[in-house]
Symmetry: C2
Subunit: 168 residues, 2 copies
């Protein structure tokens, strides 16, 4: 009775109207805007963009990651990533270290300044996420994650799970 979508709550077939699906689509659209709004404001002040944020985020999450790995996580071309990475290295936010075992690879790390910016950005983003979680309640949070995970492409889910494991 606390449901809204179907009486058989949980598993099994759902009765999904186009309307319900459209609402989900629009919720994704509007929510993603909110999701990026706070970091975007901070980035604009510092003349960086979302691309820089993404690079910084995943370097922070996987210190020492290679360029190729980052490439496949972000899903852009190396030229595109390189442009962003170069400015971050030049500005002293990211350190690129030649691999010791395979010297062709570059391992990426945040410098102190990079870590500081990362903190500033993710604080802002986490604040909103936390507020949304609190407003929605813990049951909602579990469902939120479940649906998002089911929405990912296979490759992306692989990356997502890998990052997940690191934290455990």
């Amino acid at each position: 009775m606390a449901e809204g979508t179907s009486p058989q709550g949980g598993q099994g077939l759902l009765f999904l109207t186009d309307e319900q699906l459209r609402k989900g689509i629009e919720a994704m659209f509007f929510a993603y805007r909110g999701f990026t709004a706070d970091p975007d404001r901070i980035l604009a002040e510092k003349d960086y963009g979302r691309a820089h944020h993404r690079a910084i985020h995943f370097i922070h999450r996987s210190p020492g990651t290679t360029v190729n790995n980052l490439l496949s996580i972000l899903g852009v071309t190396k030229q595109s990533l390189n442009r962003v990475l170069r400015t971050l290295v030049d500005d002293g936010l990211v350190r690129s270290e030649v691999g010791r075992v395979d010297k062709r690879e570059r391992h990426l790390f945040l410098t102190e300044a990079g870590a500081a910016l990362e903190r500033e950005l993710s604080d802002a983003q986490r604040d909103r996420m936390r507020a949304a979680y609190r407003a929605a309640g813990s049951e909602a949070v579990a469902g939120f994650r479940k649906v998002l995970e089911a929405m990912m492409d296979e490759d992306m889910r692989r990356h997502y799970e890998t990052l997940k494991d690191r934290g455990r």
Copy 2:
């Protein structure tokens, strides 16, 4: 007891670690990629982009909407929207009608061709949404929507609710 995040399930304070919040952030990032992947493929074939998709989507949802209204939903400048809208009108996907009560306004409608493309795009997007919903279960769906709604900016939530009401 079926919870994972907190013992007081539902309302009240949640114990949210940075790790949990980060996972949510990454889930949003990866899921949004999946969310746009299918329409993007269709659009690429037809030399359109996401901007066209968004315009088409919201014109479909609110037939006869004005340019100004669309502008505030999409959150872009009129120059940006106009570029997109012009190609859609030129290509015969959108019809722009001078307002009868206020002749300064233009009311936007999808033509048959426009409606056909809208269907193709939203079919693809709904298929993924439906699959995700089914995989996650109906309880998850309710939570998903709840968190997303809480994540929106005020203005966006207003638009979201307005679209919501139309369907009822």
